[in-house]
């Protein structure tokens, strides 16, 4: 396809009359003497206070950030670089009957179009390879990509997406994780069940514990979906050269894992793939796997040019991973003086359309769901289920914040009902040195009680309540 074309659009992309004397404004600062760091090695003993605490250190990248000279992906460009945009399904569950890209391909300035069928191996994922790079046969959530365009400008690519015609046959969908557990529910991936991972932790005899308890408390807690909203959107540049070597500049935090996924999806030797992790404008767990990178690589292969893709803020919400909403049922048996003797926990994690880092999150959520408390009789069952929603994955804490909200709220309810001070009930149950976690790990350097007491003293817990 020729680069030059005779339309109104042409004048918009030709910027030769714009002076490109950018360098004059990028004034370099003089180098100031570096801050010396202590270099003698120090191996602190357990529980020993190291001198690092309280020292002021600057960040090695702080100056570049403050000068605006840090080069994030969107600040980089290469000669002949094209811009890619992805068309999103906008329908949660459907069969793709046909995709017609001819009108888009015929548009001046459009250099290449790819669909799911062009992806050599159209599945990836860190635990289960259940996620397509672009939806081909089926759409599993509204944020699924169905086609991608590389064009001379971002706006031409966006205009071309409107000309990509996709015919859908709508299918049933499921959006509620509890409903997704039921046998009669729509099965997102057509398998027997929507449950794709389960963790069980059993310790002691929880039913006997409840029988012995003076009081049994039950409550349900739930949390919502949360997007990382890193200030820099997902961005990447792919360059497939004439020797078949692909270079990807990307914001991914785990480039080695991503390299494996690239090799798989592109069916290309890993040795021919080079991933360059650039400075990332915020990750928080949301940039831990590939997103558009294989698409950009294929567009680059088709056009012989570097291709850049930057997600819009809207795509960040619909088409990248989020934090799991969890429905958490707690049942806790306590003695009248507030000692927890039995706890039953049921967690249902809303996994969205694909697994992503759900399995990891599930494990952490399950292990931590009992809280930092010694509980003799414990029964935890945790499930993660598919729904036709944006996939959930890694985010700061991997499931820990959700269960912490539940067990601490539950603890407050119990304390209130028993008339025990909320701090006191925690001290009576908290882990100590040598306590074992629910999965039997013996814990050292445990300072739960000390931390609670110190915090209570610092912010005036007692004074505030009297």
């Amino acid at each position: 396809m020729p680069d030059t074309f005779e339309t109104k659009k042409q004048e918009k992309t030709v910027v030769t009359d714009v002076p490109r004397e950018a360098g004059v404004d990028l004034r370099l600062p003089a180098v100031v003497p570096a801050v010396p760091y202590p270099i003698e090695t120090l191996v602190p003993q357990v529980n020993q206070q190291t001198p690092a605490v309280g020292q002021r250190v600057t960040r090695p990248d702080g100056r570049m950030h403050g000068l605006g000279q840090t080069k994030y992906i969107d600040d980089m460009s290469f000669p002949g670089m094209l811009h890619a945009k992805i068309k999103r399904a906008g329908i949660a569950s459907a069969r793709i009957v046909r995709i017609d890209t001819s009108a888009a391909e015929a548009m001046p300035g459009v250099m290449a179009v790819v669909t799911g069928r062009d992806i050599p191996v159209n599945s990836f994922g860190p635990s289960y390879q259940d996620q397509p790079v672009l939806a081909d046969e089926r759409v599993f959530h509204a944020g699924d990509g169905v086609a991608a365009v590389a064009a001379l400008t971002e706006q031409i690519a966006l205009d071309a997406l409107e000309k990509v015609k996709v015919e859908y046959e709508p299918l049933p969908a499921v959006f509620d994780p509890v409903e997704a557990l039921q046998e009669s529910s729509h099965k997102v991936h057509g398998t027997d069940t929507n449950v794709y991972a389960k963790k069980t932790i059993r310790k002691g005899d929880v039913e006997r514990g409840f029988a012995q308890a003076d009081h049994v408390f039950e409550n349900r807690f739930s949390t919502q979906m949360v997007e990382h909203v890193s200030l820099e959107p997902h961005a990447a540049i792919a360059d497939w050269d004439a020797n078949g070597r692909v270079t990807i500049w990307c914001t991914i935090g785990r480039i080695t894992l991503a390299r494996g996924d690239m090799a798989r999806t592109l069916k290309h030797p890993m040795s021919r793939i080079r991933m360059v992790g650039t400075v990332v404008g915020g990750n928080f767990g949301g940039k831990n796997e590939i997103t558009q990178e294989p698409v950009l690589a294929l567009l680059s292969k088709k056009t012989g040019r570097p291709v850049k893709g930057v997600y819009s803020r809207g795509e960040e919400f619909t088409s990248t991973t989020t934090r799991h909403p969890i429905i958490m049922d707690y049942k806790t048996g306590v003695t009248k003086d507030g000692k927890i003797i039995a706890r039953k926990v049921r967690l249902v994690l809303d996994g969205g359309a694909y697994c992503s880092w759900s399995e990891t999150t599930l494990g952490k959520a399950a292990i931590l769901s009992a809280g930092p408390y010694n509980i003799e009789n414990l029964d935890v069952e945790a499930y993660v289920v598919y729904t036709n929603k944006t996939m959930t994955g890694a985010m700061r804490g991997f499931g820990a914040p959700q269960v912490c909200f539940a067990y601490e709220s539950h603890m407050d309810d119990i304390a209130k009902a028993l008339g025990i001070d909320p701090l006191e009930i925690r001290l009576r149950n908290a882990f100590g040195e040598g306590s074992a976690s629910p999965t039997g790990q013996v814990l050292h350097s445990v300072v739960v009680k000390e931390s609670l007491l110190k915090a209570a003293e610092r912010f005036g817990w007692k004074e505030g309540r009297s």
Partner: protein
């Protein structure tokens, strides 16, 4: 953004002429803080964007024989720092301050905020509580109407095709009328109002009673509304904390708030009661300060 033509208007008259030339689909760019967001997502671009940011005659804030005239192009930042407004109308300053963040306040204009006419708009209630009027220019000349009638529905105003909001006037009779403004959002900065409320009244210096009380509420109905029952209750009543609290409760009963993901209708009603009481207290503080100063 999809392509469009960009034309700049020298003044209000030029803007009206350009609107006639480019037709009703052309968009007016005043501050752009809403317009550009819309233009980035519209399926079809307008034929032209008429930039009125350079129309100096629509920017002035001054006291004339019509009253306090605030040009439609005065930015929220300019309203906050205007010597005509800064000390005399804390309610207008607070309302302007509650809009967006500094970046939006240095671009966003009073006229743009009013023309957008979202139910939660922050500049509306304080002006309605001061019984502001608007001037509208069109090809056939200009007309005036009370601001409260300018709002027709959510995102709908009384502007007809080819018409331009030129200025907002606080009428002479209300010059210096003490007023208070309160907004409650989910954050202190850059948040939409769950409820906003403004109140004004003259304080009778001898009898210490409410004279001409006026209460306006935002984000609790399709447009900014007055609370006539609460106003009637206050008129002539002795200024006391109890009376102000009761007026808040009455006002809460006069609104029709909705439940949405930001807050429930019940919560909004509670907010109306509290915020109305506080905006009355704000107006009282201004009134007392004014009386103290006039005695000096």
């Amino acid at each position: 953004m999809k392509g469009f033509e960009f034309v700049s208007a020298k003044d209000a008259r030029h803007a009206v002429a350009l609107m006639a030339e480019y037709g009703p689909k052309a968009k007016i760019l005043a501050g752009g803080t809403d317009l550009l967001v819309d233009l980035k997502s519209v399926p079809e671009a307008p034929p032209a964007v008429i930039d009125i940011t350079r129309a100096a005659d629509m920017k002035e804030i001054k006291v004339t024989d019509r009253g306090l005239v605030i040009g439609a192009l005065a930015t929220h930042g300019e309203i906050m720092s205007s010597p005509e407004i800064r000390d005399r109308y804390p309610a207008l300053v607070d309302a302007a301050h509650s809009i967006g963040a500094i970046q939006t306040r240095s671009l966003g204009t009073l006229g743009g905020n009013l023309v957008t006419a979202v139910p939660s708009l922050d500049s509306g209630p304080a002006l309605v509580a001061l019984e502001a009027r608007v001037t509208i220019a069109g090809a056939g000349g200009s007309r005036e109407m009370p601001l409260i009638e300018f709002f027709v529905g959510p995102r709908r105003t009384a502007l007809k095709a080819g018409e331009l909001l030129v200025d907002v006037v606080i009428p002479k009779k209300n010059l210096g009328k003490p007023a208070g403004f309160q907004k409650f959002g989910l954050r202190k900065g850059q948040a939409l109002a769950l409820v906003n409320s403004a109140a004004s009244f003259w304080l009778d210096p001898a009898k210490k009673v409410f004279v001409d009380p006026c209460i306006a509420l935002g984000a609790v109905a399709p447009t900014v509304i007055r609370a006539p029952k609460a106003e009637a209750y206050l008129a002539g009543k002795k200024v006391t904390p109890e009376a102000m609290a009761e007026a808040g409760r009455i006002a809460a009963g006069e609104a029709k708030p909705i439940s949405d993901f930001r807050a429930s209708a019940d919560y909004r009603r509670d907010l109306i009661a509290v915020l109305t009481k506080r905006s009355l207290e704000g107006a009282l503080a201004v009134a007392e300060r004014n009386q103290k100063e006039s005695r000096k």
